[in-house]
Every structure is written in structure tokens, then in C-alpha cells.
């Protein structure tokens, strides 16, 4: 398949998905019953000044979709003077509205916390992939032995385990050896230098462990079946016939072919991992985007909910695109012929 064709198709799909998410996000909070927007304006804890700012910024006084009078007066430009265009304008400026409960700018809240979730997810995910791939290879190699069945049972078990409950179990079992909540022991400040970051690191251990232990089983099972499938291909018999020993055959012929499906699977499960991060941040009160979303759910803080959902969805879409491009680079069959 033409590579340029593959890339264009993937990029267009990603852009279309982004647009769809933005539109979906806008409508979600206006169409559904109990129009939350009105709620934002008239909630008791909003200062008059903040209400005014939101009203003007988000053009809440204007019609949602098509501006009738604006059309008569200024023609086309008038017609588009609506809530939706205001929403888009604010979005491009990075203004996601004001938090209903903390009255801080949503974009500020997110900017402050995003790297914490990124660290958690990236570290957890990389460890899960790394260990999962290795265990998967071992299981495929030793297929049919007791090691293989025990790895399979471990996989089934973690598949049945809700992430948040596994977090709770780790919390109980660790029994104080590791910090069980928050990001840093109170009193330490970032400018304390290394000591501060070491402390953050220790707080990161349990949440990351939860993600890693649960998600490595998915990669392991997929890697195992992919390796077993690749190892039964004709070109592996050719390699063996060429005089390569088992290890050389595996390294030079089986590995790359087995890794290809892994890239697509990782892309597919990214959305799932983000869901896991929300649960882990809730259980260990790790102050990332996930926790922010959880609090927003509890307090009905719609602007924050809207903002966090947008950020999470957009980051997963971009990560997916990257995985697709990586696949195109790895698989020669997608090269321009």
C-alpha cells in the first residue's frame, strides 16, 4: 500500500477525530437535559464579575448555533456570531473557562497538573510494555510448559482485576513502607532541590506499580500469541535451514515481525490506560489530570470536566497518530513501492 497514501489517510483521520471531539465536547454540555451552562452562571459561589466574564467570553447571551438577527445586520459575519464560534475562539486562545468550584482558570489548573499524569502514564506504560514483551517472548518460547500456563493464569487474573481495587490492595499490603497519598510529603517545596524530587519519586512508586502490574499482562498475552504465530511462518523454517541457531533466528527474523502487531495494540489500549490513570490517581490522591477529573465529577464542576476530557481525548488521539506513523516506519510493506 502506498506509504504516502497511508500517512495522509491516518493524518486526516486524526484531524477529523480531533474536530469531532471538540464539537462533541461543546454539544455535550448544552444538549443534555439540565442545561449545565445556565447552572454555571447562576451557581451561588460564582462572583458576579466571574459570571459576567464567562457570559461575554462564551457568548452565552447569543443563540447556540445560528444567529438570526446578526445575519440581517451584518450578513454572513453576523450569522456566525454564536456560542459555538465564541467557544472555538476561546479554545484557540487556550481559555477553557473558569473552574466552578475553585474559580481558577481551567487551563491554569490543567497546565499545572498535566506533567504529573504524563509522568505516571508514560513510566507505567513503558514498564508495562517492556516487561510484558519480555514475558510474552518467554511464554512463547517455553510454550506449553508450566511457566507458560502460569503466565496465562496471571494474565487472566489481572484482566479480571479492576484497576482501582488493585490500587487499594497495594495500598493495604505496602503497609506504610511507601507513601500512600498525595505527591509530596507536606512541607517540602520544589526549590528544596533533589530532596523534593526524591520524595515525589517515592510517592510515585505505588501508583506506577499498579498501572504496570495490571497493563503488562495485556501486552504479554498479545506478544505471546504474536510470537507463536510468527514462529510458525515459513521464513522461520528457512532461517533454521540456513543454519541459524534458535536465538539468531528469533533475534534476526521473528522479533521484528512479532513487534508489528504490538504497535497497533499499544495504540488501541492507550485510551484504556488513561482510564486506569484516573482510577490510580483517585486511589493514591496523586494530583494529576485524573484526580482533577474525579474531583470535578464529585463537585459537578462542568468547565473542569469539559477541559480535562478534552485534554485527555486529544492526547490519546495524538498518541494514536504517533503509533500509526511508527507502524508505517517499521513495516516495509507500507513503504512506497
Amino acid at each position: 500500500m502506498q506509504r504516502s497514501d497511508y500517512l495522509i489517510r491516518k493524518i486526516i483521520f486524526a484531524l477529523a477525530t480531533l474536530a469531532a471531539v471538540v464539537v462533541f465536547n461543546f454539544f455535550l454540555f448544552r444538549i443534555l437535559p439540565g442545561d449545565p451552562v445556565k447552572l454555571i452562571i447562576h451557581s451561588p459561589r460564582m462572583t458576579a464579575e466571574a459570571q459576567e466574564r464567562i457570559k461575554s467570553n462564551f457568548g452565552l447571551d447569543k443563540p447556540v448555533w445560528f444567529n438570526q438577527e446578526g445575519f440581517q445586520e451584518e450578513g454572513i459575519s453576523g450569522a456566525f456570531d454564536t456560542q459555538f464560534t465564541a467557544y472555538l475562539r476561546e479554545l484557540t486562545k487556550g481559555d477553557l473557562g473558569v473552574s466552578f468550584s475553585t474559580r481558577k482558570d481551567v487551563s491554569e489548573l490543567i497546565k499545572e497538573r498535566i506533567w504529573r499524569t504524563v509522568v505516571l502514564v508514560v513510566v507505567g506504560e513503558l514498564l508495562a510494555i517492556f516487561i510484558g514483551v519480555i514475558l510474552g517472548m518467554v511464554a512463547a518460547w517455553r510454550r506449553g510448559t508450566s511457566l507458560d500456563t502460569s503466565i496465562l493464569l496471571y494474565g487472566l487474573f489481572t484482566w479480571a482485576m479492576p484497576t482501582f481495587f488493585f490500587g487499594i490492595i497495594l495500598l493495604i499490603i505496602s503497609g506504610g513502607r511507601f507513601p500512600i497519598g498525595g505527591m509530596v510529603t507536606p512541607g517540602l517545596k520544589p526549590d528544596d532541590g533533589l530532596v523534593y524530587w526524591q520524595d515525589v519519586g517515592r510517592h510515585l512508586i505505588l501508583p506506577t506499580l499498579t498501572l504496570t502490574i495490571l497493563y503488562l499482562s495485556e501486552y504479554m498475552l498479545i506478544m505471546r500469541s504474536s510470537v507463536v504465530e510468527v514462529l510458525s511462518e515459513d521464513y522461520i523454517l528457512t532461517a533454521k535451514a540456513k543454519g541459524l541457531n534458535a536465538f539468531q533466528t528469533f533475534r534476526d527474523h521473528a522479533l521484528k515481525n512479532a513487534m508489528l502487531p504490538m504497535v497497533t495494540i499499544i495504540a488501541l489500549t492507550l485510551g484504556y490506560t488513561v482510564g486506569g490513570a484516573i482510577q490510580v490517581e483517585t486511589v493514591f490522591s496523586w494530583p494529576g489530570i485524573g484526580r482533577l477529573m474525579f474531583d470535578a465529577v464529585q463537585k459537578r464542576d462542568y468547565p473542569v470536566l469539559q477541559g480535562t476530557f478534552l485534554i485527555l481525548a486529544v492526547s490519546v488521539i495524538i498518541a494514536n497518530l504517533i503509533a500509526d506513523l511508527l507502524y508505517a516506519a517499521l513495516d516495509p510493506r507500507v513503504k512506497p513501492d
Binding site: 502506498q2 504516502s4 489517510r9
Partner: protein, 351 residues
């Protein structure tokens, strides 16, 4: 009495669009088309067995699909018993003769009437039977699709007759079995029985023996040949193996890149092939005796891409006796005998 041809193919063209990528659309590069068939004309008499021979990409299977109405020609037409096959396959038959009851039937009924009279035998005995159906369900299915108003006993009788005519006797020893319990040869017999149960007049056999072991091929070929006598069936036999065609077919059409380059009585075409391509194919067919080794006329290169067909005579790039003239003119048919004609400019000089 010259038998009235059951099948008439006039100037048949079949082209498949090439899927356009984004880049093509952006650059608005010209639409490309695969020239599967580029003007085929021949007719088949009632009860005749015609072989369509050629390498992959010659279009022999496409002819079979169009003859059965499973594909609709891009240009030209096929007459089956006087009806236009393309219209019939779409159920849009215009009344051919006055008082013709067929064209008054509904679309679905017309298509069923066509399917009853023209059936197909497939290449891969392992793939052409639904592994989840018993032999009985496979062979009786056509009777369920076409409710011919048969009672249960009549259906059983028909299935039994079809199975036993195909050499699977006693029938009740087989019909409760599943395909994976039978050998390749037996499975191919079930496929043929499935086609016979509707008592068709035309059978298109697409490479029916190429997947079978040599020792059981002859039986299937003899079975196909016997159908002409026992059931008065006309057979279109497509294959790449000239030797099997030589064994049981009356006439042979040699195809290259969507065209018939030579057509004539099988024995004649095999004994004195006149088209250079046929000569090469015959010379290259392996003969099971080292003493009869013949000089092989091996054509270099591969069958060209059917998207951009070579100019003039399409065989000229690989033809050993091609001249400049062959590069420009598309060769018309030259009559060797009343039934044997060749599309090659160099035929006469070859005598």
C-alpha cells in the same frame, strides 16, 4: 445438422477499475483500468466441451464468470440459449420472442431460472464446501433455494442420483459425513453432484482438477466427459494444464492477456499449434518420458501487467518471431481450417 449454439459470445470486453489512492486523486492522474478481457468472440454448441487455456492473468476465469452471469460484461454480450446473459443475470430480460413467459417472471424468479440452467465447479475441493454442512445439506441446498415443488422423496432421489452419478455410491454412506472426513477427490465429486442436482444445461468447470493428485484426476475428467452423454451437458473447462485439456475436450481456445490467440479442435491445436504462444506452451508442457525430450521454446520475462497492455499484438514483447509490424498492428484472425483460426500476422509465413 449443425447444432444450434447454446452459447454465443460476441466481442466481450471486461474491465476492472484500479482503486485510486489519495495521491492519484490529488494529482488527478488518469483513471486506470485492468483489461481483463479485450474482445472475446466464440460460440459453443450444445453438448460440446470447450477448453479455455492460458496462464494466470489471461482472463480465462473471467470468461467463465461472465458466462455464468456472476459478472456483467463492460462491452459486448453473451447469448445463452438466445437470451442476453447480462440482462438475465440482472433479472431485466426484455421479451425476446412473443409470448415468452421467461421475461414476464419477477426479477428474482428470472435469476433463479438462470441459475438452474448454468452451474459451476470450483478449483479448490477444500475451500468450495462449507465445512459446517453435511454432504446431504450441501447437495440438497440448491433444491431448497429453487423450490421446484419437489416432495421430500423426490429431493432424496435427486440427491442420491447426483451423488451416485458422480461415483459416490452408496449415497447414504456419504450424506451424513462432513467435508473434512472426505479425500480431495471425493470432495470434488460432491461439488459436481451439487451442481448436477439442478440438472443444468451448462457447466463451467474452473480448474477442477489442478488441486488433485494425478492418480485421481483422470476419474474426475472422465466423469465430466460422461456428463455430455448421460445428461447432455455443455462444459466450459478452464485450465493452465494443456495435457488435461488434451485428454477430454473437443475444442480448445488459447488465451493471452484477455484475448483468444488461437482456437480450434483440441487434437489439431496440440499436434500443430500455429500461434507462437501456443507453440511455446505445448513445447514447455512436461512430457513423462525422458526419451521424448523436445526442444523447449521458453519465453523469457513474465505475463505483462494487464493495466497497460502492449501496443499492436499484445504478445510481441515476448514473441520469438515478432517483427516491427507486430508492434503496430493488432493481428486479425487467420483461418487455418474451417474450425481452426489464429490471431497472428506471421502464421502464413510459418507454413
Amino acid at each position: 445438422m449443425e447444432k444450434q449454439p447454446i452459447l454465443q459470445i460476441e466481442d466481450l470486453y471486461k474491465q476492472f477499475p484500479v482503486t485510486r489512492t489519495f495521491v492519484d486523486r490529488v494529482k488527478r492522474s488518469p483513471k486506470q483500468v485492468v483489461h481483463a478481457l479485450d474482445g472475446i468472440s466464440f460460440s459453443v454448441a450444445q453438448g460440446e466441451i470447450l477448453a479455455l487455456v492460458g496462464e494466470s492473468g489471461s482472463g480465462k476465469t473471467t470468461v467463465g464468470m461472465n458466462v455464468l452471469g456472476l459478472q456483467v460484461p463492460t462491452k459486448g454480450y453473451i447469448l445463452f440459449d438466445g437470451y442476453n446473459m447480462a440482462d438475465w443475470a440482472m433479472g431485466k430480460l426484455k421479451s425476446r420472442k412473443n409470448g415468452d413467459e421467461l421475461s414476464r417472471l419477477s426479477k428474482r424468479k428470472q435469476i433463479l431460472a438462470l441459475r438452474r440452467r448454468a452451474q459451476m465447479v470450483f478449483q479448490d475441493p477444500y475451500e468450495s464446501l462449507n465445512p459446517r454442512q453435511t454432504i446431504w445439506e450441501i447437495v440438497v441446498e440448491p433444491l431448497e433455494i429453487h423450490d421446484l415443488g419437489l416432495s421430500a422423496d423426490e429431493k432424496e432421489a435427486r440427491v442420491r442420483a447426483a451423488l451416485e452419478d458422480c461415483g459416490l455410491a452408496p449415497a447414504d454412506h456419504f450424506w451424513n459425513r462432513y467435508p473434512d472426513e472426505l479425500s480431495g477427490g471425493q470432495r470434488q465429486r460432491v461439488v459436481i453432484a451439487g451442481a448436477l442436482v439442478l440438472e443444468p444445461e451448462l457447466l463451467v468447470a474452473d480448474e477442477p482438477v489442478s488441486m488433485l493428485d494425478v492418480s485421481i484426476r483422470a476419474d474426475i475428467l472422465t466423469l465430466l466427459q460422461s456428463l455430455r452423454k448421460t445428461r447432455n451437458i455443455t462444459i466450459l473447462y478452464t485450465t493452465h494444464d494443456l495435457a488435461t485439456a488434451g485428454y477430454f475436450t473437443d475444442r480448445m481456445a488459447v488465451m493471452y492477456l484477455g484475448r483468444v490467440v488461437e482456437i480450434g479442435p483440441t487434437a489439431e491445436v496440440l499436434k500443430e499449434p500455429r500461434h507462437p504462444y501456443t507453440q511455446a506452451l505445448v513445447s514447455v508442457a512436461p512430457v513423462p518420458n525422458p526419451r521424448k525430450k523436445r526442444k523447449r521454446m521458453i519465453l523469457q520475462g513474465e505475463v505483462p501487467n494487464p493495466i497497460d497492455v502492449p501496443s499492436g499484438c499484445r504478445f510481441h514483447p515476448r514473441c520469438p518471431i515478432a517483427t516491427d509490424e507486430c508492434k503496430i498492428t493488432d493481428p486479425p484472425y487467420v483461418k487455418i481450417t474451417s474450425k481452426h483460426k489464429v490471431a497472428c500476422l506471421k502464421t502464413l509465413s510459418v507454413d
